[in-house]
Symmetry: C2
Subunit: 425 residues, 2 copies
């Protein structure tokens, strides 16, 4: 990933709202799928408070690859890889900064408040990883006090398959799932609504070209298969999870809903914010050869935050309560490149539009814990909200909002949009 | 599921090969997707040694639902549920038995040997269960000698999400996966080709209409969402599995390939062969209320068999060696209905064309073990083949074939076709 003129901090757009503090300055240009007035779904790019309808300006954009932007999902475009993404980025950077292009482009701008956002891709497979080492340690202490971090953790980027059908875009209401749980004192499990509904703060990776079945992806090529990033909420029912997860892993505790932010923030947009740092302490085992290498700055310098309101807080006009804030790279023991290479090292085929979660991004700091399970220490230490309400886990009317923001000296910061969900019971 | 005139043992077809011993008598009529000469994929029905091209006879079949049979996958047809399946079955039963229909139908028959079979559905999600209690016990002894069957097993139909992208139809070559394994005596894991490649003998369930996100499926309605059955090989790399599977379950040990037989054998065809029996011993805990009920004969009276040849056996003309044979219902602790209801009890949405594996179908008998891991006792007791070769796990050139057959007094037996895979290294 190169840093080029599209990152120039002096670059401004004739879309005024793109030039102040916004998630979507002209240096970002994330892709999305949206609709208006119940009409068909279309590809767009966020700029300031607007979405640019890419289909409406396709004759100004480029050549063959533009056809993929006429689809109701981005799978086909992401399949084209970095080449098409870079051409689109350069074209949009020019058109949205060049005042002489304004007359041609402006009619294709739609206010974000008028648009309904959709999943950017048809998710073929969704995989969730577990690369947040502080999260793995914190959770491991609760499920397995004797050995929180299992012996494989520092060698294997642990992941498991999730449910593709229940991946939804930000805003999907959260229905409290029912299932089996076994109260500690009970002899047999009971069936009913989960009492330990939780969130997990993650980043999502949208897969680009992918690989054929049987053909692994070398670590030096992994970067080519990452088409972009989003925020991801891996909603979790902790009581169902504790009872069901052995020996084959989480299932109904997770697959009732996974929410993602609607924008595909590209590796090109994130180039200035990648870091060499990640959460692998000196002295830890070196990655095995197949996971060693890749780009020199594979760390995601994105600050991810979770905040919440309760119904009472919203009624009283109380601002959202920040639950956590931390840099993704400080939480991740494995990089996105290592995730991709590991996933495909046995020949498993990744496909354009597949979604991969990083796992919960908790930092080593007490204010960087990415789930209530960790913040409330399994329910033992409820948090106290500005309204005076307490929470160990989520209750009806609670609304979670995730945000993500990348910034670096000398560059215009960019945002990931938001991933929102209201617990409706 | 009713037994009706389509099961009449006196019913014969003018397709002569359907009337002897065949998997596909007129009492079966399983659906499939096939192509010939590289042309487009079409829906078909197996009858004797032939496939009937459904698109070519659509004007003789029915009304609105026929349009779904013009698609290159069966998802849309399976979404219609039992009503359309029964209408199709009745129409085909009549047309293929009525000599006066022969002239109109016969030109639409294609020899199975001329057809290329494809996956019957676009698999949105693939879930694998673990309902074979003897398998769970046998494997548990090897991975966890102290507690082979975990406390949740008799309450929770254990399942986990598998990989949809690597589900392939019978015949797909099996490439030995690479991955991490940790030799018992080693301090650190190594990366390389699996040395413990194995198969798992399962049945697959094709999902019919399914449910909306947030809307569970009651046990009394579960039957409506089962559109058909197939054979399924959950290829497994045991050494990768042992090292990676904690705490989130199997991942790369499984997702390099899952093979299925090409025919969707419908619940209607299987009606005479369903049994009240399944592998839940008297005295075991009763299912929780949400899993109690359903049809009176939910047990799958299908004999499933695994056999293998080595390259040397094939060269020498030695017949396949039968590895196991057993009745599915004798292996299954949970029924297909309980699987469906449990999967959706938290509101997880099942979709038409989703694939659900039962888990390995091992019976209590030594000749009914559904994997080499069990047959060879984790490699300690290699099998000796008729060629004199020994096997603890699979080697290059080995070919596995699964078959399935349902039979009952007074009925014409039906088969599931075969699920085949050759290990090519």
């Amino acid at each position: 990933m190169r840093i080029d003129h599209t990152h120039d901090p002096a670059l401004v757009s004739w879309v005024e709202s793109a030039n102040g503090h916004t998630d979507f300055p002209i240096q970002n240009l994330p892709l999305c799928i949206f609709s208006t007035d119940g009409a068909e779904r279309r590809a767009g790019v966020a700029i300031g408070d607007f979405l640019l309808d890419l289909g409406a300006v396709s004759d100004l954009l480029g050549d063959a690859w533009v056809a993929e932007l006429a689809q109701p999902v981005l799978n086909g475009f992401l399949a084209l890889g970095a080449g098409a993404r870079v051409m689109l980025r350069h074209a949009l950077s020019r058109l949205l900064s060049d005042e002489t292009a304004r007359d041609a482009i402006e009619p294709a701008l739609i206010g974000q408040s008028e648009a309904v956002m959709h999943l950017p891709c048809l998710v073929g497979d969704y995989t969730d990883f577990y690369v947040g080492i502080h999260h793995a340690t914190n959770v491991g202490k609760q499920f397995r006090p004797a050995n929180p971090l299992l012996p494989n953790y520092k060698y294997v980027p642990i992941g498991y398959h999730g449910r593709a059908s229940s991946v939804r875009v930000s805003g999907e209401p959260v229905h409290r799932p029912s299932g089996q749980r076994k109260p500690p004192e009970a002899e047999v499990p009971v069936f009913g609504a989960s009492r330990r509904l939780d969130y997990e703060l993650e980043l999502g990776i949208w897969v680009g070209p992918g690989n054929r079945l049987g053909e692994p992806i070398a670590i030096d090529e992994a970067e080519q298969h990452v088409a972009g990033y989003c925020l991801l909420n891996d909603w979790s029912a902790r009581d169902l999870q504790a009872w069901e997860y052995q020996p084959l892993g989480p299932f109904l505790a997770k697959n009732f809903l996974t929410s993602v932010s609607p924008f595909v923030v590209t590796p090109e947009a994130l180039a200035p914010f990648m870091t060499a740092a990640f959460a692998r302490p000196n002295g830890d085992p070196a990655p095995l050869d197949y996971l060693a290498g890749g780009s020199e700055r594979p760390g995601l310098g994105i600050r991810v935050e979770a905040s919440m309101t309760t119904a009472r807080m919203r009624d009283a006009g109380i601002a959202p309560h920040r639950l956590s804030s931390g840099i993704a790279a400080d939480a991740m023991y494995w990089t996105a490149e290592q995730i991709v290479t590991h996933h495909a090292c046995n020949g498993c085929n990744l496909q354009p539009g597949d979604l991969i979660g990083t796992g919960t991004l908790s930092t080593a700091s007490a204010d960087g814990l990415g789930s209530l399970l960790e913040i409330s220490q399994g329910g033992k230490m409820p948090i106290v909200l500005p309204s005076g309400e307490q929470r160990s886990f989520l209750e009806e009317g609670d609304e979670l909002v995730f945000t993500g923001r990348a910034s670096a000296d000398g560059y215009v910061g960019i945002g990931l949009g938001e991933c929102r969900g209201l617990v409706v019971g």
